[in-house]
């Protein structure tokens, strides 16, 4: 009996095959996945190359000088003045105003949704916010021009507020970015484990103490990322500022005066009949490169912040 078992085992052992089997499905899928990853990187590199090449052409043109571009405050292509500051300040202005709206409101919405709202309210409010994010930005642009601007003129006076102004564009841009920030922040807050909230509640903490002193600090890295993504979005936002912020570069810090942002300027110039290789045509690539660098730097900062403040809670 015992002998028989051993014999069976020996026979079995000799038929076991550990050889690699071809798995064509796996190989094909793996190849496709690699291709899609490679493709997106390739496209990005292509864009950077094109931007860089045309921008380089711009800076090689007679009368253009990188130092002057970075230090002077007049952008007048017809007289060969290419100081980027008027465009940059209005971009910064609209971004600043937008973030002043979007960050506090977005945080408030997120904390409310994740810590206070009962499930029914949350499941109604979240989709509404997401609809807000889905409205085409051109609609926001006309909302700024036909609602926000008249409102500002009503409040501050028609002689103070121009028809085109960075203030109204910034405010509406804040509304546009609000759902982005609140939704990312809410995700970060919801990811904080329930055990941490329970620990605080069990120590007799109130809802507000749990939300602001335990949950928010634990989610800080995600919140920082949400803010930086929001800023990048504001810097790159085009349609609202093109419609409502005004045409023509203007070096000003007043939110009530029309001033063109970098993106707004690119839209206006590229919409006209520009001959290839004209100085105007090349200048918009240089501006595009500036925008790209700004958002790139912001992304790098955000990653550094996330690494620095990551509170590991498990």
């Amino acid at each position: 009996m015992a002998e028989l078992t051993v014999k069976n085992l020996e026979k079995k052992a000799s038929t076991i095959s550990l050889r690699r089997k071809p798995r064509w499905g796996e190989t094909i899928i793996q190849g496709l996945l690699f291709f899609s990853g490679f493709f997106s990187i390739f496209i990005t590199l292509g864009i950077v190359y094109e931007l860089g090449k045309e921008a380089l052409l711009f800076f090689q043109m007679p009368g253009v000088d990188l130092l002057a571009t970075l230090t002077t405050t007049e952008w007048k292509p017809h007289v060969n003045k290419f100081g980027i500051w008027p465009l940059l300040t209005s971009t910064l202005m609209t971004t600043l105003i937008a973030m002043a709206i979007a960050i506090p409101l977005g945080m408030g919405v997120a904390v409310y949704l994740s810590e206070y709202a009962i499930p029914k309210v949350r499941s109604t409010l979240k989709p509404i916010l997401e609809i807000l994010a889905g409205i085409p930005t051109i609609v926001y642009g006309y909302f700024a021009l036909t609602f926000m601007t008249p409102l500002l003129r009503e409040i501050f006076g028609k002689d103070v507020v121009q028809i085109y102004n960075t203030g109204s564009a910034g405010l509406v841009m804040g509304i546009l970015i609000l759902p982005l920030i609140s939704s990312m922040t809410e995700d970060a807050l919801s990811a904080v484990p329930r055990s941490l909230r329970e620990a605080a509640y069990a120590m007799g903490a109130t809802k507000l103490e749990v939300a602001l002193q335990i949950v928010v600090p634990a989610a800080l890295s995600g919140i920082a990322a949400a803010i930086i993504v929001g800023i990048s979005r504001a810097v790159g936002e085009t349609m609202i500022v093109a419609v409502a912020a005004g045409a023509g570069p203007n070096f000003t810090f007043s939110p009530f005066i029309g001033a063109e942002t970098i993106t707004g300027h690119i839209v206006r110039i590229s919409g006209g009949d520009l001959s290839y290789d004209s100085i105007d045509y090349n200048s918009i690539f240089a501006l595009g490169l500036f925008l790209f660098i700004i958002t790139l730097v912001l992304n790098i900062i955000s990653q550094a912040i996330v690494r620095r403040f990551r509170e590991v809670y498990e």
Partner: protein
């Protein structure tokens, strides 16, 4: 002090015909038990019989997330803690809790205790309070040189003692422990059990445990819980007595089967 003396001072928590519901499902039914002051009361029973649910009814933790409700009464020092004008924050301030999985805040060891004291308006010497709390939890000697490090840098057993220190810092009257040693190794478990014996002098402890040896070793009273066999499948306390009686001559056959390891 003109206290309401209709209740027996000997018992700090009492339940009367307590039913606990998740939505319409009755998870725990008809519990009558009295938790004696400065004693250790263990709640034992098989998985899913409502031990943690019962424990969490003692400091109103159940109501935080799920749709829960109770019928019957839970009193703390004679006061109905589910009365309309009772603030659950005040209840939890006096009835602290330690969880199954150690859950220190992602703050420094020092801040874990200081934050807890601060939210209750502690104005005294914080360094002293932190040291005393850590000493009471038998953790001081191990962490006194690294108070600024994250509470999460500690080992599991140390984290659990930090959670106990945190609970002690606000001087609760009762400490609820929900399987506090089940995620720990035997040596860390022994430390927690020794600690419980020390804490008994000043605190009342209610502990849920899966580990019958632990209940037998560490507790004065034991409540045996089990699912009823009716169609509702609610958990209830089938026997509640001094621990040595539960483990040596239980009155209920099911208790005897469970503690002798015949099932569960």
């Amino acid at each position: 002090m003109a206290l309401n003396n209709n209740f027996d001072q000997k018992y700090i928590i009492e339940t009367r015909n307590l039913d606990i519901y998740y939505g319409s499902f009755k998870a725990v039914a008809g519990v009558n038990m009295r938790v004696e002051r400065n004693a250790i009361t263990a709640i034992i029973g098989p998985s899913g019989c409502g031990k943690s649910t019962l424990l969490r009814a003692f400091n109103r933790m159940n109501e935080l997330y799920a749709d829960t409700s109770i019928e019957g009464e839970v009193t703390f020092s004679g006061q109905d803690i589910y009365a309309r004008d009772v603030d659950p924050v005040e209840v939890r301030y006096r009835i602290g809790m330690v969880f199954q999985k150690p859950n220190p805040f992602p703050k420094s060891i020092y801040e874990n205790i200081a934050w807890t004291a601060r939210i209750h308006g502690y104005k005294g010497n914080m360094d002293e309070l932190v040291e005393n709390s850590l000493r009471q939890a038998a953790l001081w000697d191990e962490v006194k040189d690294k108070l600024k490090q994250s509470g999460l840098s500690l080992s599991g057993g140390q984290q659990q003692r930090l959670c106990i220190a945190r609970a002690l810092s606000i001087k609760p009257e009762v400490i609820l422990m929900d399987e506090p040693a089940s995620a720990l190794d035997p040596i860390a478990t022994l430390k927690i059990e020794e600690l419980m014996q020390d804490l008994k002098q000043n605190y009342t402890i209610v502990i849920v445990t899966h580990n019958m040896q632990q209940a037998a070793r560490a507790s004065d009273y034991t409540a045996m819980m089990m699912l009823t066999n009716g169609e509702s499948r609610s958990g209830t306390v089938i026997e509640f007595d001094e621990t040595n009686i539960i483990f040596t001559r239980p009155k209920d056959k099911r208790t005897e089967d469970y503690v002798t390891g015949r099932f569960g």
